[in-house]
Amino acid sequence: MESAIKLQNISKSFGDVRANIDINMQFNKGEILAILGENGSGKTTLMNMISGIYFPDSGSIIVDGREVTIRSPRDAFSLGIGMIHQHYKLVEVLTAAENIVLGLPGKGKLDRAAVSAKIKQISMRYGFDINPDKKVYDMSISEKQTVEIVKTLYRGASILILDEPTAVLTPQETDRLFSVMRNMRDDGKALIIITHKLNEVMAVSSKVAVLRKGEYIGTVETAKTSYKELTEMMVGRTISLNIERPPPTGQQDRLELRNITCLNEEGIPALDNVSFTAKSGEILGVAGVAGSGQRELCEAIAGLYPILSGEIDYYPPGSDKTQPIVGKTPKNIRKMGIVLAFVPEDRLGMGLVANMHMVDNMLLKGYRKGFPVFADRKPPKKLAENIIKSLDVVAPGVYTPIRRLSGGNVQKVLLGREISSQPTVLIAAYPVRGLDINSSFTVYNLLNEEKKKGAAVIYIGEDLDIMLELCDRIVVLCGGKVSGIADAQSITKEEIGMLMTNLPDARLP
């Protein structure tokens, strides 16, 4: 098979962190290569060097048999290398076609018809579904991704790098993406997909290359490998993929939502008539495509999002008297004696302060306690030290700014703080997003411990495989409405996928 890119002895360090060590790899035309590796294994760094964002410390890159220098994304593009990043870089107010031609050299006047024709031609060839005249702000996430891919193809890319393209897609959208990828493969393009998810690797790739801690471990043919082998290559030893699910204990109603409706900034319902009950001693999963109202749901319960109508009742343990919490601020909720812990999706932008060290971040929730005027930093320091010890946080010390910790450690710090308040309700939004397998399991264990202690755990997730193993019940959101509530042990992934995209009464097959 013809080689598209060859990497020889590529190394890259950041300070004294060796992100890539002596990597030798080859990417072939007409092939989908999956790059698999835990967080911090150096996948993205490697791809960033191919796409011109980083410059390697040593080693050489050979494209089409010639040694090349890639100093900028522009250099990469002139070599036919296109990267689709995790975070799309589109201008919201422009149409798909305008975004696609943006930045290309051309005459003063834009020949829209020609552009549209070329986009249509690309779409036909690979099976994209794209409307060139649709504005980006009207698009779903998968449509935006399509625009990004077509953008690179329009510019003649023959080597495409997709960085975790499925993270935000529904199972159905993922399947569509994969079929497009296969069409591109058959057309002789070289595709590289970075992912954490083994099942997707198995589904789409021709070969799998594994990185571990910055080093290249090896490449295997997908057809001849197994989950077990790949996991072993990735983590270096066999780890059980089985997530523990202790049976729910003493289930009592803890938090009841009745007909909750919230409007977003545009006045459109972000939550529409949402009702469910979270029970003590269980993990309640909330599934849904990104942006189906999960964020608003969490924040509404936590008292951070205005609720238009509906009720939320809290049932204190060992008492029948309900306490309504709608319209209360987080401060008031705490004053009522309700210990509600919330691990938000945006860890560094909401749950923690990135530029502050651990002690000041521990202070965030309890800074009002203690002396009247001065902030008491002794208890938070102790808490920070405890969390480092009990959760194995890798940090130089409690006075290291949070932004310098890795994603997994940041999450441990945040979860550690929230759990330290001994909550009766714990809301965790995407707590394992971007975490490697080991850190993810630490998180599952922590959630299970809270469940055993009798907390009502609400888990907002995206990986359905994990949710099916971890949660006791699953609420599915679709466009701000509850499209189904099911027992996690009796529903299948496909059924959840259907509920995520369709309301049951709308159109079921």
Partner: protein, 416 residues
């Protein structure tokens, strides 16, 4: 088009196995304190050199000029007093700015807040002078602080309620304060005895701040004690109080502040009120201390220069003491060299400007480093001994790249 590009590039690629960009700009993750200070000292020396060349071109001896700048602000008790008199309002205004800036509320309205404080104090000095001196001074101070605080609170209120842009708002309020001052000076408060000049009468002694100097060293009004105490109080306020913590959290992330159930609007308004009140106090010190009366040149740009002071000091009130003194020396010194060497005022200001430019500019080299072609391994040496262990920083993140390719400025995706 793409094929052409490849062709034009390949000869290069063949001639040289690796062609690095000539210079790359890399964000430093951390820098040793000593190294940072070396860069700062280096910047000042460089500034002196560049300034020296300009002095040389004007036909003077740079060493003589620089030493005159220094002696002119320190040699005699009078010059020392003058320098300190200049430094007091600068320091005060910089302290006033600190809490707003810590909250990332870009309050560039200290000038106006100083002026309204001065106006309020002047009202008491001119029209409520039956009180005993201490009472009068206290009343003037309180009035100045309330007025300055309200002047700060107005943009704070609008920011908290409707998210208006505080930079423009505070800037515009400066002009209103200045014109208000002019109105009083030319209109109702004009001294009929001033022989046709639009002037406000000098305050009575009861409304003047007492002098408190150290015999033979300097002799300045008591304001210098005020600002030194304020510097210490502000340090404690920002570092150790709950309100100081709230300010820092709101400054870093309003969402986090809301998440921690802080009342962001209240914190913004409270902080900007404190800022304005301290600026108002500076206005009181100016009219009651150094100047003895109010005029439209009372603030004279102090509120703007103080932004440089605050920034150079990284919002640390104790460091501000030294920076304020340094800038006072510069401005006093530039007066001296104007008279001693007949160097035009504008040229003297150019010298001051060069020094400030280098001092502010060197922060870039503290935050970023340049890597030149052919010096490859310099970046792999750990910047400091407490550098994170490999697991701590995650290079494999989706965060924007800390590394920027310099020559063609092609950064990110849209640059193709």
């Amino acid at each position: 088009m793409q094929d052409e590009n490849i062709k034009t590039k390949t000869p290069d690629a063949h001639r040289k196995t690796r062609k690095e960009p000539f210079v790359r700009i890399v964000k430093r993750s951390d820098i040793q304190r000593a190294k940072a200070w070396m860069i700062r000292v280096g910047a000042i020396i460089l500034a002196m050199c560049v300034g020296g060349i300009i002095v040389l071109l004007m036909g003077h001896n740079p060493f003589a000029v620089y030493s005159a700048m220094f002696t002119g602000s320190f040699a005699t008790a009078t010059s020392r007093s003058e320098t300190i008199k200049t430094a007091v309002p600068l320091l005060g205004a910089a302290i006033a700015i600190a809490p707003s800036f810590r909250m990332r509320f870009w309050n560039i309205g200290a000038e106006g807040q100083i002026l309204v404080g001065a106006v309020a104090a002047t009202y008491f000095a001119l029209y409520v002078k039956t009180m005993p001196s201490v009472m009068l001074l206290l009343a003037m101070m309180l009035a100045a602080m309330v007025a300055g605080g309200i002047w700060g609170l107005i943009p704070g209120f609008f920011k908290a309620k409707w998210g208006t842009n505080e930079t423009l708002f505070t800037l515009m309020l400066n002009y209103i304060a200045l014109e208000l001052t002019k109105y009083f000076q030319h209109g109702p408060w004009r001294n009929p005895m001033s022989g046709g000049f639009p002037k406000i009468a000098m305050f009575d002694n009861a409304a003047r701040l007492p002098k408190l100097g150290i015999a033979g060293i300097f002799d300045v009004h008591i304001g210098w004690i005020f600002v030194l105490v304020l510097a210490v109080l502000m340090l404690i306020y920002l570092r150790h109080t709950k309100q100081g913590y709230e300010i820092a959290v709101v400054g870093e992330s309003e969402r986090t502040a809301r998440y921690a159930s802080m009342n962001v609007g209240k914190i913004i308004m409270r902080t900007v009120f404190i800022s304005g009140a301290i600026a108002g106090l500076v206005g009181f010190l100016l009219v009651s201390g150094a100047n003895g009366t109010l005029s439209d040149s009372t603030a004279g740009g102090v509120g703007f220069t103080a932004i440089s002071v605050a920034w150079l000091a990284k919002l640390n009130p104790i460091v501000m003491i030294f920076i304020a003194l340094f800038i006072a020396v510069l401005s006093k010194g530039s007066n001296t060299i104007q008279t001693n060497f007949k160097i035009p005022a504008s040229a003297a200001d150019v010298l001051t400007g060069i020094i400030l430019f280098f001092m502010l500019g060197c922060e870039f080299f503290i935050n970023y480093k340049l890597i030149f072609r052919g010096v490859p391994s310099a970046e792999s040496t750990p910047p400091d001994s407490t550098a994170p262990s490999p697991e701590v920083t995650a290079p494999d993140s989706a965060a924007p790249s800390p590394e920027v390719t310099a020559p063609d400025g092609a950064v990110g995706e849209e640059a193709e």
